[in-house]
Symmetry: C2
Subunit: 264 residues, 2 copies
């Protein structure tokens, strides 16, 4: 799903973001055409490339079409904390809409394709597409939940549990956007990346990962951390099924949204 070639997603409505938004029944044809206008311009980046510089002033919003990225913060002394992973269909810098400085960096983890537009464009589209903005706030709400969970993971889970929990989350998110089993199981992560995400040293990340390997829930395949037994991994990580279930849109919101004015 997220592997579609560039040509395919450049030409029509096949981006993961589209697929995600199609679940919102109140969106109309008109909203999608406005979205298309926003997503017209595309950029690419290679692994390790910085898309957003830390502390850089920016007014750009990115929609990840293909590949993985992550947001992070670094300290002067070299410490780094990864804030979250961005998968196809995720949006970076929605809030940069109103905040001039990005106090985080964003880096490509794999080769990526992105749609890019200046935040002020969003403001303009927004004027006559309130339903679209609602849809974007839905996306934003989902990623804020992920931040909540990440705080809990880093703050209150032991090292092995923490790693298991993260891997399951990534697996579930990949599956949710339509990735095949094999794609969702083989994660494009190094142990150092996992360590920086989980707030531990890379040495300890290795020990934790090896523990999971001995349990038979994960393994290294072709140089990638790979999930072998999701059930076992989820148990090891105390992963709650309810978390990350496809969020539904409440009926009243659905109803209220349908009467929002369109273009005309």
């Amino acid at each position: 799903m997220y592997k579609m070639d560039q040509a395919a997603c450049k030409n029509w409505r096949e981006t993961p973001l589209h697929l995600r938004l199609e679940k919102l029944e109140f969106l109309e044809e008109d909203d999608f055409s406005k979205l298309d206008a926003l997503l017209a311009y595309r950029e690419e980046a290679d692994p390790g490339e910085w898309v957003v510089q830390e502390d850089q002033e920016t007014d750009r919003t990115y929609v990840l079409l293909n590949g993985w990225m992550f947001r992070f913060k670094t300290f002067e002394d070299g410490r780094r904390q990864i804030l979250n992973f961005m998968l196809p269909g995720d949006i970076i810098g929605l809030h940069s809409l109103m905040l001039r400085r990005a106090d985080y960096g964003a880096e490509a983890l794999t080769p990526v394709h992105m749609a890019v537009f200046p935040s002020s464009d969003l403001v303009n589209s927004l004027a006559n597409a309130p339903r679209l903005l609602l849809a974007l706030s839905w996306i934003a709400g989902q990623s804020e939940r992920l931040l909540d969970e990440h705080i809990t993971r880093v703050g209150r889970r032991g090292a092995v549990e923490r790693m298991a929990h993260l891997l399951v989350e990534l697996y579930v998110r990949m599956r949710r956007i339509g990735a095949e089993l094999d794609e969702a199981r083989a994660l494009p992560l190094t142990q150092e990346i996992m360590a920086d995400a989980l707030g531990m040293s890379h040495v300890h990340a290795n020990r934790s990962f090896r523990t999971l390997c001995r349990d038979g829930s994960v393994a290294f395949v072709d140089g990638r951390p790979t999930i072998i037994d999701v059930i076992k991994l989820a148990q090891r990580g105390n992963f709650e099924k309810t978390y990350l279930e496809q969020p539904e849109v409440p009926d009243d919101v659905e109803r209220a949204s349908k009467v929002l004015p369109g273009t005309n």
Copy 2:
């Protein structure tokens, strides 16, 4: 500032949220009157009272007018992680707009006054007040930055540094919403609350706090953790000045916002 009595803030535009939004120059009289309509209904809660139940289905949005609250997650085995602290002017459940279930709880830390409205009301108001929605997304962006910082704090800072950093953040946020020095210095926290926020045991929270006491940067006054020397505390916490500076609204967004349609 956040100590205003209920009568005062019930009758006119003196809530911390109003004061915060007044900094957005593109908002017009009309937007504020729509906001007033949303904020008409008020509720109160006592310390320890749960305002949002974990995993409860909810369609309500809260605007904190007065006092402190926090959001949290708990585990079956009793572990608890505090996700963030809400100060006057903060909004709880903006994203519950589109997500039915709250996967966190929210609890009053002091006696609180809140404005409450059903999320669907927001959708309705939003239809003809795009500027107001922009303003709310500005608020949402700010609190998302706080989550980022909290992840970094919990993931990559040592115990003493972590505590110092949190205390300075709370102090700065209080000052930013207009609290007097004495109000901002005396924090309504117990050591157990700090421990749960910082992802450490309450025993270790005590040891870390005592260390800060010996440094002369904090003390216990009238049963409250109290900041004695902010400068020293900020140094101990590697607190960066740039972080939490009053975010400005980019010029182009400001310009684009001004031409958004008003009521009629």
